[in-house]
């Protein structure tokens, strides 16, 4: 596959792009950032095409897409606009501006991968196994990470409720 032509690469994009785009959307939480990640992912794939052996194109593209989506999280912090699309939120009727700041601060303090885990699990409804598969890690690792993140979010919500 070292000789992937432009035409072949465009075919690869047409054939597998939707799945990569769906994963990028799930991680980024909005279409604009997801499409930026998608473009960056396929640009990286184009540059790395000589290394691709042609055997598992979707797995290859999803790995590159995941990394591109995490880069977008790193740069853009999309939760700034709506952190409660990323972590469980207090009742909207009781939500205060400080809650939004606290939630943003919490998401800012974790790694992009961790923020992605939160989003995939609680906003997108991905299974633990799906997240583990997508991030090439163990289900145990995902569970433990989510438990720690949830614990921090719970402390925050309790503080809001006590205020």
């Amino acid at each position: 596959m070292s000789g992937l032509t432009r035409a072949e690469f465009h075919e690869l994009y047409a054939g597998y792009g939707p799945a990569a785009r769906a994963s990028c959307r799930a991680i980024c939480g909005n279409e604009a950032d997801a499409d930026e990640a998608l473009q960056e992912a396929f640009l990286s794939a184009w540059r790395a095409r000589k290394r691709f052996d042609g055997r598992h194109p979707l797995a290859w593209l999803q790995t590159i897409g995941r990394n591109a989506a995490l880069q977008v999280l790193r740069k853009r912090r999309p939760w700034v606009d709506d952190p409660f699309a990323w972590i469980k939120a207090p009742d909207p009727a009781t939500r205060q501006p400080q809650h939004t700041l606290d939630a943003v601060r919490l998401l800012d303090s974790v790694r992009p991968e961790d923020a992605a885990y939160l989003r995939l699990r609680y906003a997108e409804g991905w299974r633990i196994g799906e997240i583990a598969e997508h991030f090439e890690t163990s289900q145990r690792s995902v569970r433990r990470k989510l438990e720690r993140l949830e614990h921090r979010a719970r402390i925050l919500v309790r503080a809001w409720e006590a205020a």
């Binding site: 939707p18 799945a19 769906a22 959307r25 998608l38 990286s44 290394r51 995941r66 303090s109």
Partner: protein, 239 residues
């Protein structure tokens, strides 16, 4: 256990008929599985609508980091404790590429590239490499201090990949390693601290987490106060 990748391939129409028949039967027998498959299909189908046009450069662009590669001159270091020899290269670029990536609060800004057959590729939290590949890293310092890089193998052997290097505020430390054929997984820890942190400090931290497999130990516990760290998981493949 079914994989999301399989369901995505199904949604893309990339599975052979026999595999599709099997999945359809599974959906008929298992409502929970059917619900999952339907969700994935819905996500992929929605993403196929108005798929943006792909813009490729007119000529193949080399990544900015390529300029680092010409400056490498490998140095051989003796292996430790009966391990395979690792060739270790320290890069001292005169003009590293300007990076706009912000330092992440509570974590370290690290860029990792894997060079296989002369081709570089930027890596994420999990790196799959082949023996003989070269791993390059760049660690941006959050403040003046030292940057050090340690490798911890699955058998908990600690190796120093980058000795404590003083860095100025806004500075960065670069390094590279030629990867051997160690079969187990290993974690590479990038650590910043105001003071140098020697191998003993890292070994103590690894020992403290004795009940956690290295694959799951993404941060080292109990490092001296003020330490900022990030790690990657390094796996080998022979494919």
């Amino acid at each position: 256990m079914e994989r999301r990748l399989t369901l995505e391939q199904w949604a893309l129409g990339k599975l052979p008929p026999a595999a599709v028949a099997e999945l359809e039967q599974r959906c008929a027998d298992d409502p929970d599985f059917a619900e999952w498959a339907a969700r994935v299909r819905s996500e992929v189908t929605a993403a196929a609508v108005d798929l943006p046009m792909l813009r490729l450069p007119a000529e193949v662009d080399e990544p900015a980091a390529a300029s680092w590669f010409d400056r490498f001159s490998p140095l051989a270091l003796a292996g430790a404790a009966g391990l395979a020899v690792i060739a270790f290269t320290i890069l001292l670029p005169s003009a590293p590429p300007v990076q706009q990536t912000p330092t992440w609060r509570g974590s370290l800004d690290v860029q990792v590239h894997l060079i296989h057959a002369g081709e570089p590729s930027e890596q994420g939290a999990i790196v799959t490499a082949r023996p003989g590949d070269r791993l390059q890293f760049r660690v941006a310092a959050p403040a003046a201090g030292t940057v050090q890089v340690y490798d911890v193998q699955a058998d908990r052997t600690v190796q120093q990949w980058l000795a404590p290097r003083p860095v100025a505020a806004q500075g960065a430390a670069n390094g590279a390693v030629l990867l051997d054929d160690y079969a187990g997984g290993e974690r590479v820890y990038f650590v910043w601290h105001p003071r140098p942190l020697g191998t003993a400090v890292i070994a103590d931290a690894v020992e403290r987490a004795y009940d956690t497999p290295i694959a799951d130990l993404d941060t080292l516990p109990g490092l001296p106060k003020g330490a900022v760290q990030r790690s990657i998981l390094l796996l080998r493949t022979t494919e």
